[in-house]
Symmetry: C2
Subunit: 330 residues, 2 copies
């Protein structure tokens, strides 16, 4: 089922990370629903923000360039908003190990300060926070449901876990309605393809487009993938549902696939290309989580969400997008 | 069984929070073992540090006044040390709600920077980190073992959880031998009694000594208590055991007692005094965890630790200490 757009008609909606991959896809949808959309993004080159991402709706949204670490601008920006989709984050696992402080500032401290701003200046705001499967660490069982222990294996996972916990805490203690989605590999048009900072799939796509062989590490790991339109649906459904507050929901994919099979599928859809199988680089192996795929029955039962775009269809659309727009993203 | 002091003879031992309640008791023991002890403390008045705490060993330890948030001093201080007992922390649950940033800086960010210093300048250092039962939140079952989900109910619990996770991560990824103890209510001589910032039991003792009625909130909650000498034993055993690295251990007490029964016991031992039963203040109720007591079988089986001082004996010693020294602590 798709999200009900009437919830957002005429509503003021703030999206942090609003020029990023998921944020910009969400913004486009919200504009279609008649929402007044305010996008906050720092446009840090290593992250996912990009003005081209909102090209289609550029004149229909407000864009405010600022950093979620800037408490002063956030204090002003949250005021008067009805919804906050809190998507800004540092996503690179490797970067979080080489520069743990920046990851902490963005994924933990800034989340706390956004929540403090909401508590003080707009406590009736409704928040959906984009968390990540990374906080589970190496799965103890599969598929992973929301009760799985949280044992993050990198600094990014630890800080995202703290950021998530703050949201749930402010819901419980201060009644600021917050809902958490734990995203798995989200992919689709407008994803970062310049490098692997958002997902390895991004850099695969870039190299495929540039007729270079891409590297598949190990290849046996199982993963699930959510097409961005489905992820956007989940965000909208979570915001629009009175009973979602205080809850945590996994997202998932329509299938489970090994990275090697994913590489083969990508090449099949593209009609060519090649990859090399390599063993893990040591610094990546240390923080790898092995096999992962989600049990998303909780959000299916509670919000009637499920993936609607098959991996094949999603990859087809994604490749079509980058065939047309690759130069904007590299 | 008591800790084996030979492990520490002639060894260089750094204790953060070294002038605090547990740190100073640990320091006194380490001096007895012939260790070269360096105590780091910021002496922030709201926390537990106090020079009087180390009066007995003042000439036998080095004291360095600095804050664990100060990366530059920590960078220097960790060098050349064999062991780090990492005890510095902000402990007040209520303070963490009114000033969440300070709690984050001390309990999360500073822990990360201490670990970064160890990684860069002294990776062979062995660390024991003092964590807390607070990270479990409201127990889902009792007694609580180490597999219990982590669902902290206040900012302090979230940040301590992150601090703990960093230690385990640096063990796994960088091989910096870290062991985590999750302390429950630790009590004994040199605890903070000025107010309830370290434990409510502190302010009870102060008011008892001052012949004022103390307040028992609710009174039905069950808790366990570790006498400080037993907590120190656990810290020493964890540092001295080759197999403790990378592990998390609960501490616990010799008995489980309701707060009302504890109040009665305290008055019986003191030979007088009174308390008033009150309902929870609203800001405290929001972050209360209900009943808690630990399953400490893991550390019993792995390190042969168990509480050796009964609650009655521990309270007797504690009251005797404050009868003599109360004026130093208020």
């Amino acid at each position: 089922m798709a999200a009900d757009g009437r919830v957002f008609e005429g509503k003021k909606v703030l999206v942090t990370g609003g020029l990023g991959f998921i944020g910009s896809n969400l913004a486009t949808r919200l504009v279609g629903f008649g929402a007044e959309v305010l996008l906050v993004d720092s446009l840090i080159p290593e992250y996912g923000g990009h003005l081209f991402n909102i090209q289609q709706v550029r004149e229909k949204v407000r864009v405010n360039i600022s950093d979620v670490r800037d408490e002063h601008s956030m204090r002003y920006l949250v005021q008067g908003e009805d919804f906050l989709f809190n998507l800004a984050g540092q996503t690179s696992h490797l970067d979080s190990m080489t520069d743990p402080y920046t990851d902490l500032e963005i994924n933990a401290r800034a989340q706390l300060s956004i929540l403090e701003c909401c508590r003080k200046y707009n406590p009736s705001l409704e928040i959906v926070f984009a968390s990540t499967r990374q906080i589970y660490g190496k799965p103890e069982y599969l598929p992973v449901n929301e009760s799985h222990p949280l044992r993050p294996v990198d600094v990014n996972g630890i800080n995202k876990m703290a950021g998530e916990c703050y949201h749930l805490l402010y819901h419980t203690v201060y009644g600021i309605r917050s809902c958490v989605l734990r995203l798995t590999n989200t992919y689709g048009p407008r994803m970062r393809v310049k490098d692997a900072r958002q997902t390895f799939l991004g850099v695969w796509i870039r190299q495929l487009m540039e007729n270079k062989p891409f590297e598949v590490w190990d290849g046996t790991q199982l993963r699930d993938f959510t097409y961005v339109d489905d992820a956007v649906d989940a965000l909208l459904m979570a915001a629009g549902n009175d009973h979602a507050g205080g809850h945590v929901f996994n997202l998932g994919g329509d299938c489970v696939i090994s990275l090697k099979d994913l590489a083969d599928l990508l090449i099949e859809i593209h009609g060519g290309g090649e990859y090399v199988l390599r063993s893990f680089p040591p610094n990546r192996k240390q923080i790898d989580i092995g096999n992962y795929y989600a049990d998303f029955s909780r959000i299916r039962d509670a919000l009637n969400w499920r993936p609607t775009i098959s991996l094949r269809e999603g990859l087809t659309r994604t490749l079509a997008f980058y065939r047309e727009h690759l130069s904007r993203y590299v």
